[in-house]
C-alpha cells in the first residue's frame, strides 16, 4: 500500500513539480479561457446579427411591403444562409486550419486567430438557437407591441428578445460548454492551450495517466462552474415571473 502511494507521489512530482511543469497547465488553461471567452463574445455578436436577419426575413414575409429594403434583406438572408450552411457543414478543425494556415498565414497571433475561428463557428450555432427562440414567441406579442406604436426593432428589443433569451438560455449554455471543450483542438494550429499543455508534459515525462487526467479534471471543473452560474441565472429570470 505505501509503495503504491509512494509511486503515485513520485508520478505527481515528476509530472507537475519537476521543472515547474504545472506552469504549463496554468498557462494552457489561460490560453483556453482566453480563446473561449473571445469566441463566445464573437459568437454572440455574429449569432445575434444572423438571427436578426433570418427571423426578420421570415416574420415580415407576408406583410406585403416591398421596396428596396426588402430586396436588401433578401440578399442578406441568402448570405446568412450560405454562411450557416458552410460553417455547420464542415468540421471545426478544418475551419481552424484554413483560417490559420490559409487566410492568416502571415500572422503569428495564434490565440486571436483561433478565437476568430471558434467564434465564427459558434456564431452559426448561436444564430440558429436565437432564431428558434424568437420564432417560438407567440405572434400576438409582436402584434401587441406594434399596435402600441413600437416599430419592429423596438418591439424586438423590449418585448420579443427578453422572452426569447429566457427560453433559449439552456441551449445557449450548452453551446458554450461545447465551445469550451471544442477549443481543445486548437493544438492543431500550434497553439499551447490546456490540452496541448497536457500532451507536452506527457511527451516529456513519458507518463500519460497523470497529465491527461489532470487536463480532463480541469475541463470538468470549468464546465461545472459554468453550469452552476447558468442555473443561477435561469432561476433568477424565472423568479421574475412568479
Amino acid at each position: 500500500m505505501t509503495e503504491w502511494i509512494n509511486s503515485i507521489k513520485a508520478q505527481f512530482v515528476l509530472n507537475f513539480i519537476e521543472g515547474d511543469r504545472w506552469k504549463l497547465l496554468v498557462s494552457g488553461l489561460g490560453v483556453t479561457l482566453k480563446i473561449t471567452l473571445i469566441a463566445m463574445v464573437l459568437g454572440i455578436v455574429i449569432g445575434v446579427i444572423l438571427a436578426t436577419i433570418r427571423s426578420t426575413y421570415d416574420l415580415t414575409k407576408d406583410d406585403g411591403r416591398g421596396g428596396f429594403g426588402r430586396v436588401l434583406l433578401k440578399i442578406f438572408n441568402v448570405i446568412a444562409k450560405i454562411y450557416l450552411t458552410i460553417i455547420r457543414g464542415t468540421p471545426v478543425v478544418i475551419q481552424l486550419l484554413i483560417i490559420y494556415f490559409v487566410i492568416f498565414a502571415s500572422s503569428d497571433n495564434g490565440v486571436l486567430i483561433a478565437a476568430l475561428a471558434f467564434g465564427m463557428n459558434s456564431g452559426a450555432y448561436v444564430a440558429e438557437i436565437i432564431r428558434a427562440g424568437i420564432m417560438s414567441i407567440d405572434r400576438g406579442q409582436m402584434e401587441a407591441g406594434r399596435s402600441l406604436g413600437f416599430n419592429y426593432i423596438e418591439t424586438m428589443r423590449y418585448i420579443i428578445i427578453p422572452q426569447a433569451f429566457k427560453n433559449v438560455l439552456p441551449s445557449l449554455a450548452n453551446e458554450f460548454i461545447a465551445l469550451l471543450k471544442e477549443t481543445s483542438v486548437a493544438g492543431y494550429a500550434a497553439i499551447q492551450d490546456l490540452t496541448r499543455a497536457g500532451n507536452i508534459i506527457r511527451s516529456k515525462t513519458f507518463s500519460a495517466f497523470m497529465p491527461l487526467v489532470a487536463v480532463a479534471l480541469i475541463y470538468l471543473a470549468m464546465v461545472m462552474i459554468l453550469t452552476y452560474f447558468v442555473g443561477r441565472l435561469e432561476r433568477r429570470l424565472r423568479n421574475s415571473e412568479r
Partner: protein, 246 residues
C-alpha cells in the same frame, strides 16, 4: 354628416390572403365618439377588417383615412398613427415578462417620453378605475382571464388613443368573467370613446352600440342602428344569423 366628424374613413377596402378574398370593397365611416359593433359568422372577415384599420393586416387595395391621413400610403409612418389607435386582442397579449405596471407604462415612457413618475401615476389612476390597483406589481400569469383583459384595455388607454379597436375581447374568457370586461367597455363608451368592436355578445351590441355592421363573406351585408339590425333585419342572411345566435 360633416367630414371632420369622421375619424376613420374606409374606402373600397379589399384584402386577399394568397389569392383568397377575405374582404371585398368595404366602405365604412367611423365617427368620433361612436361605438361601432361588427357582428357576423366566423370567417366573415370582421376580424380582418378590424386588423386592417391599424394595418396589422396590410390591405390589398383601398384606402383607410385616419384623422385625415391616408395611412395606407407607403410614405406614412404607421407607428405614429398606431399610438393613437388602441387595440385589445382576443388573447390579451400582455407581456409575460413584465409586471402589470410595466406593461402599462412601457409604451408611454418609450414612445411619448414620459417620466416614470408621470407614467406610473397615470397607470395607477387607470388601474383604480378598473379596480386592479392592488395588482400593479403582479405578473400577468398571476391574473385571471377577466383581469388580464381589463389590464389589456387600460394598457391601450395609457397611450390616450383616439379610437379603441376590440378584436373579440370576451371570446377567450370563462363565462363568469365576460361581464366584468363588458362593464369596463360600457364605461368607456359612456365617456364618449370612439370604439370599434368585433364581438359575439349580441346583448352588448344592442345595448352599447351606436351602429351595427353585419358582415358575411367579406362584405358588409347590412348596417344600421341596433334597433334596425336586431328588430327589423332586412336581408335573409342576417335573419338566419340572428336566428342562430339569439
Amino acid at each position: 354628416m360633416s367630414d371632420n366628424d369622421v375619424l376613420i374613413k374606409v374606402r373600397n377596402l379589399e384584402k386577399k390572403f394568397n389569392g383568397v378574398t377575405a374582404l371585398k370593397s368595404v366602405n365604412a365611416d367611423i365617427k368620433k365618439g361612436e361605438v361601432v359593433v361588427m357582428i357576423g359568422p366566423s370567417g366573415s372577415g370582421k376580424s380582418t377588417f378590424l386588423r386592417c384599420m391599424n394595418l396589422l393586416e396590410i390591405p390589398t387595395s383601398g384606402t383607410i383615412t385616419f384623422n385625415g391621413v391616408d395611412i395606407t400610403d407607403k410614405n406614412v409612418d404607421i407607428n405614429v398613427h398606431r399610438q393613437k389607435m388602441g387595440m385589445v386582442f382576443q388573447h390579451f397579449n400582455l407581456f409575460p415578462h413584465m409586471t402589470i405596471l410595466k406593461n402599462m407604462t412601457l409604451a408611454p415612457m418609450k414612445l411619448q417620453k414620459k417620466s416614470e413618475e408621470e407614467a406610473n401615476a397615470e397607470a395607477m389612476k387607470l388601474l383604480e378605475r378598473v379596480g386592479l390597483a392592488d395588482r400593479a406589481q403582479a405578473y400577468p400569469s398571476q391574473l385571471s382571464g377577466g383581469q388580464k383583459q381589463r389590464i389589456a384595455i387600460v394598457r391601450a388607454l395609457c397611450m390616450k388613443p383616439d379610437v379603441m379597436l376590440f378584436d373579440e375581447p370576451t371570446s377567450a374568457l370563462d363565462p363568469e368573467m365576460v361581464g366584468e370586461v363588458l362593464e369596463v367597455m360600457k364605461e368607456l363608451a359612456e365617456e364618449n370613446m370612439t370604439m370599434v368592436v368585433v364581438t359575439h355578445e349580441m346583448g352588448f351590441a344592442r345595448e352599447v352600440g351606436d351602429k351595427v355592421l353585419f358582415l358575411e363573406d367579406g362584405i358588409i351585408m347590412e348596417q344600421g342602428t341596433p334597433d334596425e339590425i336586431f328588430n327589423h333585419p332586412k336581408t335573409e342572411r342576417l335573419q338566419n344569423f340572428l336566428a342562430k345566435v339569439l
